[in-house]
Amino acid sequence: MLTLDDLLLEQGDFRLSADLTVTRGARVAVMGPSGAGKSTLLAAIAGFLAPARGRILWSGTDITRLAPGARPLSILFQDQNLFPHLSVEQNIGLGLDPKLRLGRAEHTRIEEALAQVGLDGMARRKPAELSGGQQSRVALARTLLRDRPLLLLDEPFAALGPALKAEMLALVATIASAQGTTVLMVSHDPADARSLCPETILVAEGRALPPQPTAPLLDSPPPALRAYLGG
């Protein structure tokens, strides 16, 4: 269970407060107008922004002061999810051991993860030799091996076409169900939110509201969300 306990985030004039819990294994969309602070919220949970006030807890343990890499989560950013100078195998291997001391067992696990995301035999390639969709799959394979209980998606598939994006989100759903992962996903697309996320955190007017059922929220959106969704 993820708990944001009386959390306050500040960046210059920008302020965002959150006081909510997300149950273990839930899949939650994070929606709201541009600039409302969706990415900021994820950055704080991931440890890239120290909160001005409040605590972040995972299953009752305070993780507010932990370094990003030590938190029980994986995050995929909008871009720069892979090191371009490392091979696919090495990029994924970083999820097993940041020092990249990879033995036979680790290589087998990397091969399995690659097979799971449909990239068999691509281990030796560099990211630049892959398509955008394939690069996303590599990043997903790494989160698979890191096996952290919480997965944060900050629009990593935004640059992909609609069909490819749907494919990637379906892959996320498969992986998350298999591993029991809790997923927090920034989304601009109501259809994505409906199909993948039973619950939604609405971020608007300086507040992140507790998760509420997605379908009713989208059927009768509050004014801030309605203006953003357009109609």
């Binding site: 990003p68 995050i75 720069q80 990249l100």
Partner: protein, 511 residues
């Protein structure tokens, strides 16, 4: 910044600061004011200022037509000529001086031609010789800066100018003159700054009451008069010069004022007729000025390579060892400082500190520090190594810093998210991503050290020789064939080292 990342940078900063500030303190202590200065020293200060100003002015004025011609014309060998214009930056100064003497000296090619025509002959020595050498080193530098300015005019602007029907005069007025106003002050200041601490050129081509720089005066007070108090006072003058020029440079860095462009391959301005001839003359003269001295050295020196005395080969080995040590020290200081610099101003300041001192100033200070403890002659090589590394440090930082900034902007988050820290981060992220600028910086540090003829002249008793010093000694004893041979060797080793280190960096770059 985490303490683990700050510690190496703090150590490097303390070391770099100590390397500069301790000798400066020794100099200030020994000088005890400026009362030791003589009338001749005043003349040296005056000469230093006006020769630097004139060298900068001439280099910039001549660079404009050459750069414009290179921008407008396409001809076979254009790329090679532009690349060659980067060479004087790395060329050991003593090699260039020897080449200029071969062309412009009393028995040089130019005077032979003038004599054949019954015209009066010229001398490469004296104030005009010093300025000639400075223009030789800096005209190519200025040309590249101005050419870069021309190429940085977005081709969209040129298309807009063409679509509005602007003629050449209007293009010059609205596009080219603003560019030159933005580029030339910076170029002139950079050249002025370099010429202020001119030593080797003044040592060989200058001297006497009318062509002595402050750097050379320090050397003369030191070696000929054994007057340490005066040498220290002169060193203070040199520091004041450097600080004043740096303050000026900081104030004058003008933004170019051109909007961003998509850099479509722009067609150079068509310029028929008379301009075509003007461009041809500019390019031919610039190329001849650049190539003739080096060609003269090669012609005379290559056959003499087999005839070099063993002392020259020994000096070459010493120079290579010094260059290796100096390069390692430069990178050992520059890497942690540049990694810390985006978040800590003090790290950048520490790396730029050597710009406040010149080699001879540092040499004087280190001599003063060492003398009570150990015979300074015994420290010839270590002191040379340290001073060379200190002089390369600001360049290395300037090369590394932009790459470090983009590395941190692009991958800090991902590395943190994956817990990639410490030595693993250095090995898997920092070194691979910085391989290219590291190799380039190493090449420059090695080339600077190979060609250095500065502080070693203060300390050496003649038995410990680097290759430039051995070459200078050969020139002093008028063994000009052997000097040309040694110059070929020095030139070859310097460029080979630069090429090899730069290539290693490119090769290690996994992109």
């Amino acid at each position: 910044m985490s303490p683990a990342r700050a510690l190496p940078a703090a150590l490097a900063a303390v070391l770099a600061a100590a390397l500069v500030l301790a000798p400066l303190a020794a100099v200030i202590g020994r000088a005890g004011g400026l009362s030791a200065l003589t009338r001749a020293d005043g003349a040296a200060l005056w000469f230093t200022l006006w020769q630097a100003a004139l060298s900068a002015l001439l280099s910039c004025l001549l660079a404009v037509p050459v750069a414009r011609a290179l921008y407008r014309r396409r001809f076979p060998g254009r790329e090679a000529l532009i690349a060659l214009m980067g060479a004087p930056f790395l060329l050991p100064s003593i090699v260039a001086i020897l080449g200029l003497i071969a062309v412009f000296g009393r028995r040089g090619a130019l005077n032979a031609a003038l004599a054949a025509l019954g015209l009066p002959t010229l001398s490469a020595y004296g104030a005009h010789g010093v300025i000639l050498a400075h223009v030789f080193f800096n005209l190519p530098l200025a040309t590249r800066m101005v050419l870069h300015g021309w190429q940085a005019i977005p081709s969209e602007r040129l298309r807009l100018a063409a679509s509005l029907g602007l003629g050449p005069a209007e293009v010059t007025r609205h596009l080219e003159r603003p560019m030159l106003r933005a580029v030339l002050p910076g170029a002139a200041l950079a050249i002025f700054l370099v010429c202020l601490s001119s030593f080797a050129v003044a040592l060989v081509l200058g001297g006497g009451p009318r062509a002595t720089t402050v750097e050379l005066a320090i050397y003369q007070a030191f070696r000929f008069d054994a007057d340490l108090g005066r040498a220290a006072a002169l060193a203070l003058v040199q520091v004041a010069l450097a600080l004043a020029a740096l303050a000026l440079a900081a104030r004058f860095t003008l933004p170019a004022g051109f909007g961003a462009g998509l850099d479509r391959p722009g067609a150079p301005l068509p310029a028929p007729g008379l301009r075509r001839i003007k461009d041809g003359v500019a390019i031919t003269l610039a190329a001849a000025f650049l190539i003739a001295p080096l060609g003269a050295i090669a012609l005379r020196g290559l056959p003499a390579l087999t005839d070099l005395p063993p002392s020259v080969w020994h000096a070459a080995a010493t120079s290579l060892a010094l260059a290796a040590g100096s390069t390692v020290l430069t990178l050992a200081l520059a890497l942690p400082l540049s990694l810390a610099a985006p978040r800590a101003r003090w790290a950048e300041a520490a790396a730029m500190l050597p710009m406040a001192a010149s080699p001879l100033v540092l040499g004087t200070g280190l001599f003063l520090l060492a003398r009570p403890v150990v015979s300074p002659t015994a420290l010839t090589l270590p002191v040379t190594l340290i001073v060379n590394a200190a002089m390369s440090l600001p360049f290395a930082l300037r090369l590394l810093l932009p790459e470090v900034r983009s590395l941190q902007a692009d991958y800090d988050r991902l590395a943190a998210a994956l817990n990639l820290t410490g030595l693993a981060r250095l090995r898997l992220l920092t070194l691979p991503r910085l391989a290219r600028p590291l190799g380039f910086a190493a090449g420059i540090a090695a080339a600077f050290s190979m060609g250095d003829l500065g502080v070693i002249t203060l300390f050496s008793d003649g038995r410990t020789q680097t290759l430039p010093l051995a070459l200078y000694a050969l020139m002093g004893s008028y063994r000009m064939d052997q000097a040309a041979g040694a110059a070929c060797l020095l030139m070859g080793l310097t460029f080979a080292l630069f090429w090899a280190l730069d290539r290693i960096g490119r090769h290690a770059d996994p992109r």
